[in-house]
Amino acid sequence: MRNRQVHLLLLLLLALLCFAPPHHCFGIGGIDTAPSPAPPHSGSFTHPKEAELANGLRVIVAERPSLPLLAVELIIRNGSEADPNNLAGTASLTGSLLTKGTEKMSAPEIASAIESLGGTMFSSGASDNSNAGVMVMSSKAEPALTILADVALHPAFKEEEIDRLKKQSLDGLRIVLQQPGSVASYVIGRVVYGDGEYGHASGGTPETLPAIQRADIVKFYRTYYRPDNAALIFSGNVTLEKGKEYAEKVFGAWKVNQEAPHPISATTANWKPESVVVDMPEAGQASVSLTKPAIKRDSPDYYPGLVANAALGNGFASRLNREIRIKRGLSYGARSSLDVRRDAGAFFASAQTKNESAAEVALLLQAELKRLETDPVQGNELKSRQALLTGNYARSLETDLGFASQIAGLAVFNLPLETLDKFIPAINAVTTKEVTAFAGKYLVPPSSLVIVGKASAFVDPLKKDFPEARVIAQSDLDLNRADLVKQK
């Protein structure tokens, strides 16, 4: 593809600059400096095509005939942001229950039927979306799709299966709530979004899961699982015609419900920077994060934001990894992330470190956020992070499931399919000025600090720089509340 070629040519120039030999000495074979890269080769990826069924279902097909494989994913454009108040986990249970029994097939029968085809089936509910899909050899497409349609259109939501899944989910929570990094991600949700639609845990909490009733699940399903709120994505050894034919055959009879989904709007307007420590006396490490509201998916600042974030915390050569991992040996890996959602978004930068180093890492994270403005991302650094983003993107399109998931990411937010082609040129067009402006607007102003770990090891040094930090004992942590503290 042309854009990729342009991008690689730029990098060729960059590489020539990078490898000017710093000094001469003779090594093995007398070859002491890197040979220059050859001229780049061009590549391209397929353009997905689209059709619509009479019931409003979008059908999107990426024709990728090179291997006899097929990924099919049905996405629903709502998920945990639509969980009813105090019933965190409703979308997640609803999504997971699809494959746990239909009017015709039991959960074991569904698993056995798909796996006998050599396939794998998945279903879930998460933020902004729910999905059900299958990965299978393309020769088994028809039977696999018949089962996929059955689980998506005729889930039974049997009480027995609801109870079983709740128990399993609660046991899963018991385990993840013993891991400082996982606890931090739950806390970050509340710190950034408070009581808003994105504030609660998608997978539910130990208190909300038991409270969810079958009627809540059925209501969620009836409200959001509808053809005009969905897209069916094929990626693999299939044509548009064949995909449409399959879709018509198994999803054609899907009816639009009368009830329209009520619009969701999430806000982060009430956010104020704060410092929260969750004291886990047995934690083997501390998870340290800075976090704050950032941008939603359709923000015009999306691409500059990705580049700013990549310079800060994506890859071994990112600023956070240089300072925290490589220079000081304080962590196995530091990273940052822009979590963009439909109506809001969050930024976080984090690292896990030994408990004793938590305060030091908090200061280092803070310093690197500020440095994005004072020491702008430019020249080779800018080019290298653009290449990292475009390279990761190109590799994500190498597999059928990866390609389907990139399409799903657009369909969930109702973005045009041409956005797939836009990514590489848009990233490469980002300038130093835009990155610095993004940092100045979103990242440099004060953030919230979240540390989960053994507080006795770091709380004294921490209080010197974060005197307002409040410490919540693990046993007092309440993920259902914006203030995170159990009411006595």
């Binding site: 093995i28 050859a38 990273r335």
Partner: protein, 459 residues
């Protein structure tokens, strides 16, 4: 995912362990045609030309792993792997980033019990510089106390993240530690803090000269290149590296057959639910029993229709998770049943359920339908591995180094397809029935007193 030079705690042969075959696999999976050359200094080179995308996967497999950790230096091979990124007189600590992620590629490495693998994916015009850089670090490393100490700290943080910050981290370490009596497979790849602290810089240099040599390495190149270029560049950059005259030391410890059952009890302040593992000694990955054991693994614990999921997790709800792994390594393998007990259920209840399932499969074997399902899943997995250059490179490296048969990438389908239900029953009986087991219990601290191991008769 977090950035990090990766550590693989289990044998790489597990990556292929999802097994299965369709009726006419040749129709579905095309044979991969690869080239093989050996340089005069002993470096083995395997390559597959494929111009479907402008990228190339490069992997260097060194035949040295955590089983080769020096005495009293558990975790050393993995610590050493990290030092391979620190440069030499021509490479800076940034070189691999400059040649990979900074130009749109990626790089990483992992240490397994038998091998250490360095891998990159790059835009295809970067093949020559990456080959140069890989050859450079095969030839020499320039190390100093400052970069050694700081990287050791990174590895200690990796240990804390994987083991200490994970409620079942110490349980997973214990499986190998308690299961092997003599063989260095008992030492965990990640090591421990005390032995990492004890490592000295001169030992790093010694390890490089002992194991990082062309006659102990296999180069894999898959993707968009010309064969003539590859030949020129490998000769130019790897060719001048001398082959040492010393012998490469190999692990000679032989794990003796177990004389008695063992029962180990560990406790954890972090684990919310009890867990246990039951292990048996298994054969080498090169054993003829491998395909049948892999298919048994798939039937017992691949997917939600598998026996252990259906019985322990779904039907009886005594387990949060239940699995069986046939972790076959170069010298010998370990067959491991692992269960995390569901809340409200006792460890003895879960153990009885597991034993019932083991007895059942040993007595009645598996059905034709289960066998077909396992073969189909293997075939799908094999096709998915072929989706990327890196997937093909990993399969070729494993075939050449672990199986010592590069054509294994093309012959494994037929081998799996030929396995019968009777063979699966036989092979499970061969390694489990009447054999001595090690039972490892991992108990939440408060429950240490109450959960008494049941004196079950051995399956």
């Amino acid at each position: 995912m977090r950035a990090g030079r990766l550590l693989v705690l289990f044998s790489t042969c597990l990556t292929l362990a999802a097994s299965g075959l369709a009726r006419e696999p040749e129709a579905e999976v095309k044979k991969l045609s690869f080239n093989h050359t050996t340089l005069q200094n002993g470096l083995e080179i395997y390559s597959i030309e494929d111009h479907s995308s402008p990228t190339i996967a490069v992997q260097v497999w060194y035949h040295v792993g955590s089983k080769d950790d020096p005495d009293g230096r558990s975790g050393f091979a993995h610590l050493f792997e990290h030092m391979m990124f620190k440069g030499n007189e021509h490479l800076t600590p940034e070189t691999f980033e400059q040649l990979t992620e900074n130009v749109g590629g990626e790089n990483n490495a992992y240490t397994a019990p038998d091998v250490t693998v360095y891998h990159e994916v790059v835009p295809s015009n970067y093949l020559e510089p990456v080959l140069w850089a890989e050859a450079e670090r095969t030839a020499s490393l320039a190390l100093n106390d400052a970069n050694f100490n700081s990287e050791r700290d990174v590895v200690k943080e990796e240990y804390r993240q994987r083991i200490l910050a994970n409620p079942y981290g110490e349980f997973s370490l214990a499986t190998d530690q308690k299961s092997f009596a003599v063989h260095p497979y008992k030492r965990p790849s990640i090591g421990n803090i005390a032995e990492l602290d004890a490592a000295q810089l001169p030992e790093v240099k010694g390890f490089h000269s002992t194991f990082y040599r062309p006659d102990n390495a296999t180069l894999i190149v898959v993707g968009d290149f010309k064969a003539s270029d590859l030949e020129t560049w490998t000769k130019k950059y790897f060719g001048p590296i001398p082959r040492p005259t010393t012998k490469i030391p190999r692990v000679t410890d032989v794990e003796p057959p177990r004389k008695e059952d063992r029962h180990e009890v560990l406790s954890s302040a972090k684990a919310p639910l009890p867990a246990f593992a039951v292990t048996y000694l298994g054969p080498s990955a090169r054993s003829n029993d491998e395909p049948a054991l892999d298919l048994a693994e798939e039937i017992l614990s691949g997917g939600q229709s598998s026996r252990l999921y259906q019985s322990l997790v779904y039907e009886q709800q005594v387990a949060r998770s239940a699995s069986f792994s046939a972790d076959l390594r170069e010298d010998l393998g370990l067959l491991t049943f692992r269960v995390i007990v569901a809340s409200g259920k006792s460890l003895p209840e879960a153990e009885k359920s597991l034993n019932d399932q083991i007895e059942k499969i040993l007595k009645d074997g598996v059905t034709e339908a289960e066998l077909d399902k396992a073969k189909n899943r293997f075939l799908t997995g094999k096709l998915m591995e072929r989706e990327t250059n890196n997937g093909k490179a990993s399969a070729l490296g494993e075939a050449a180094v672990i199986y010592r048969d590069p054509n294994h990438i093309n012959t494994d389908l037929a081998k799996y397809q030929a396995v019968t239900a009777a063979e699966i029953k036989d092979v499970l009986n061969k390694y489990i029935a009447g054999k001595k087991k090690v039972l490892i219990e991992y108990l939440p601290e408060a429950k240490k007193e109450t959960a008494k191991p049941e004196d079950k008769k051995k399956p």
